[in-house]
Symmetry: C2
Subunit: 202 residues, 2 copies
């Protein structure tokens, strides 16, 4: 009985997020109310509040789902076969493509990202940390095979991710589309160069 109940609660939670995401895409993040979401699900707003204690909590849940999709794909590539540099490139281009599709091509969802960044949502920080950690995994593999050489793995991962900000950060992808700059492949070449074994001065 408990199991069935728990299962059904998870289902309801998931259904709320699915409907919320659809409404955000259709009518925009700001204009969507908890009442709209409840109405679509044929439940009372009070019932929605049983699962999410605020409108913001629903929004965070939707953002978490969208960001989670990118993380899963990045991790899949990090754990696949082949040279570390090739996987790093594929992973970075995938993050860029998925973020562009999700948040830039879809102006309604872009609104959600703007607010999430302005309001300093914890989901954004968690996402950045997860992506940073996944980049770190690939760097560690490259260090193990001698492809890469870094002094501090954690710092190298933070720097490699930060160097890609123009291509990872939804606001920067949108803003820089019309600005002069390197191509994503040139930028990845530069990052890989920064991770590669160097001739030491001493």
């Amino acid at each position: 009985m408990t199991l069935i109940s728990e299962h059904s609660e998870t289902d309801t939670r998931e259904r709320i997020l699915v409907v919320a995401e659809r409404l955000f895409r259709q009518i925009g993040y700001q204009k969507t109310t908890v009442a709209d979401i409840a109405k679509e699900l044929r439940m009372s707003p009070a019932n929605v509040y049983r699962f999410f204690d605020s409108k913001k909590a629903i929004h965070e849940g939707v953002a978490r789902g969208l960001m989670g999709g990118v993380e899963v794909e990045a991790q899949r590539i990090a754990r696949s076969e082949g040279p570390a540099a090739a996987r790093m490139r594929q992973m970075m281009k995938t993050i860029n493509r998925m973020n562009t599709e999700r948040y830039v091509d879809d102006s309604k969802l872009h609104e959600m990202v703007e607010i999430a960044m302005q309001e300093d949502w914890q989901v954004c920080v968690t996402h950045m940390e997860t992506i940073g950690h996944t980049i770190g995994e690939v760097i560690a593999q490259g260090v193990a095979t001698g492809e890469f050489e870094v002094d501090d793995l954690e710092v190298a991962a933070l720097c490699a991710g930060t160097a890609m900000m123009r291509f990872f950060h939804p606001q920067m992808i949108a803003q820089c589309a019309t600005k002069p700059g390197p191509t994503i492949d040139q930028m990845i070449d530069f990052v890989i160069a920064g991770l590669s074994p160097r001739i030491r001065a001493n």
Copy 2:
């Protein structure tokens, strides 16, 4: 007679920009009107329009002056003595410090930057190109002395500047202040590593 008149016209133009910048800092960019600027200068709005054909043109003039100050300082460092890597570090930290002081610590001026970026002002692109060119100068000097090694100077300059976006771009400086990430010195180390002679695979 012509010379005196030209001199005085340049003076008036300059005075308009000085007053406009002060008002932007005091009452904000959006709230400042051409009438406010004219009133401070004890001239008619029509006279202000003789020098700047729109409010936006005044704003661009102010932005140009602020960005020009950063460019002059970056160029001074680029053309000073010492190893290229040390000058690159000093230049990048100076750009970060000046942009932080100008646009982040001063919330009224930050408003101006937000609008300039959103509206895709040419002054921003020109500034990015000038800073990129100055970074390129230092890279070229480093290549000449053997400190640096790059395949394509222009691409290397674009990548080195883009890698520093978190520390150069006013919106990113403000947004990332509370986010996990590398320190500016760690990021500059990474950029310098990317420019340094490497052990070639072949």
